[in-house]
Amino acid sequence: MEKLNFNFNKRVERVKDYLSTKNSIFINEYRDDKTIFSRLMYIYEDTLININILSYDENSLTIRYIYNDYENNNNHLDSPSLEFSVQEIPAKMVHFERIMKKSFNFFIKMLKLYKDKYIR
């Protein structure tokens, strides 16, 4: 396990806290402490999304939001995936929280655009 200069679990909990204030339902979490990785699965407004949080280096993190069409429609053929991530976010909580909120809201905007215009 990489030695981090911040508490990874606290950052993951902060993401969960924020999502709990949104119109979202927590489904499950997959955690790998060895690689310092957390995958949170949520239903956001009837859409299944994944949020991956991982360490970038000992002082920063990456957060990645993913929508997989096949997870929502069970159709793998020609299946679109939409991802938005922000890499190397400084771990300082106030900074992490600001970027996490901003990036989540941008991902939701992108997802809405996609669903409104292109969903099969």
Binding site: S79, S81, E83, Q87, I89, P90, S103, M110, Y118
Partner: protein, 135 residues
Amino acid sequence: MKVDYTPKYDYEALYKIIKKLLEKRKLAIVREEFQADKDDYYCNILFKLFNRNVNIHLTPLGEEIIGLGYSYWASENRVKENNSPVIEYSIIEIPSESKKLEKIFKQSFHTFMEMIKVYSKINKEIEDGEVKFQF
């Protein structure tokens, strides 16, 4: 990308189709990387879209299927790399017929373009030709 199967389709021909479709749209190609060895396949074309560097990738996902992906890396468009956003859009498991790929390209390219437009609107990273950090 290392694979343990041999695509039954002409990977290079599909790459040329994508390149031709980009050229048809008069998009400036900045860099091309293509590799088709026995077990190692890779294709990435870096091109300009709305004055930004974006990538398109063609990935063999099986003997008869491919994946088409687009990505925008803010780090490829500015010096500062902290808080660096990445937008990715991909279509997986595309049957390898060229007509099918062309159809998927036309749809997915439009979708990706819309995503970049939304991103550009929210994050004015480039103003008056100068790269500015906003995210």
